[in-house]
Amino acid sequence: MFEYFTLILLCQFLGELFVISTGAPLPGPVVGMGLLFLFLVIKGGVPQKLESVGGFLLSNLSLLFVPAGVGVITHLSLLKADLVPLSVAIVISTILAIIVTAFSMAMFNKDDKLMQKGKLHHD
């Protein structure tokens, strides 16, 4: 299984290399995601062992955000100074973004599917 973990690391490495050399506004791992995607397209399927390694990483994804989140400890005083505006802005804008995105996706997605089936003809 370590071969496929190595493949994942290699994709990330090449992604970081790409970002550093082009200055593209993307994180290296996101470019690496694109590279692994290309690998899967060329391969024409997901090898079982890659599935196991990927499944292990993704089913524990939440845990991986804990160390960075604990970093809140270094900004407690700054956060306290603007506590009300920052928390109100985060809460309301996150709720708005969820509602607006889900609603527009559900609406346009229906159109997309109907158009694919040829039932709807608009431009």
Partner: protein, 237 residues
């Protein structure tokens, strides 16, 4: 120095202590979360951060010391992001069918997230430094920190606001989408990934593969869209 103090000095300088503590606290938080039938208020990321922060404050441990151990977990964020290609590949046919809807809802959601956050913070008299640091809050931390710096914000404050936004989106997302009576898993995924990046995607993957794939895609596309659009928008102010 007493025997116990010696043990503590040894353990607290060894990366194993904070690595083990992070895993153990999360395992416990996750168990409670499952027992409570995924009650959003008991989000395991939030609970773990609160417990660990309290512990560090009480034991007078610096974040740097903590991170010496926790970095091994943090490092896996990169490989996990790469692994998102797997659900993306498996759902690719569905994603292709919805290409138009994905681009449209992403642009609408992404601009709503940034503009409403800037507007509300400004109306409530937040400091300019806070407003700039807040603007890219809905996108994945490495890109958000870069944009924040470019606009004159504080990258480390942005990282904290990004994580708080992610936790909030993961907590509220599935509940809000149910409340507005949307049953489309692709829509849930798009909403979680656009509003709350990787933490939202972690939550979407727990719902199902379709929501997870759309969320991972939305997270990547939102990083790209915001990195291009936000600096342009900022110049209009």
């Amino acid at each position: 120095m007493t025997e116990q103090q010696n043990v503590w000095v040894y353990l607290s300088s060894n990366p194993l202590l904070h690595l083990t503590m992070t895993m153990a606290v999360f395992a416990l938080a996750n168990k409670i979360y499952k027992k409570a039938n995924f009650n959003p208020l008991l989000n395991p990321v939030l609970i773990s951060i609160m417990v660990i922060v309290s512990f560090l404050l009480l034991s007078n441990t610096s974040y740097d010391t903590y991170f010496t151990g926790a970095q091994f977990i943090h490092f896996l964020l990169g490989p996990a992001t790469v692994a998102l290609a797997i659900p993306l590949y498996k759902q690719f046919n569905r994603i292709k069918q919805s290409a138009g809807a994905i681009v449209a809802s992403l642009l609408i959601g992404s601009s709503t997230a940034a503009v409403s956050a800037i507007g509300i913070a400004w109306l409530l008299d937040a400091k300019l430094l806070s407003i700039v640091s807040l603007a890219p809050k809905s996108i994945t931390a490495p890109v958000a920190m870069g944009i924040s710096e470019q606009l004159g914000g504080l990258a480390s404050l942005t990282a904290v606001l990004v994580i708080l936004t992610g936790i909030l989106g993961a907590m509220l997302g599935p509940w809000i989408v149910k409340l507005i009576k949307i049953k489309d898993n692709a829509a849930l995924g798009m909403a979680l990934g656009t509003a709350s990046h990787g933490i939202g995607t972690a939550r979407a993957l727990q719902v199902n593969d379709v929501a997870g794939a759309f969320s991972g895609l939305a997270m990547g596309l939102n990083a790209l869209a915001t990195a291009i659009l936000l600096p342009l928008l900022w110049q209009l102010f």
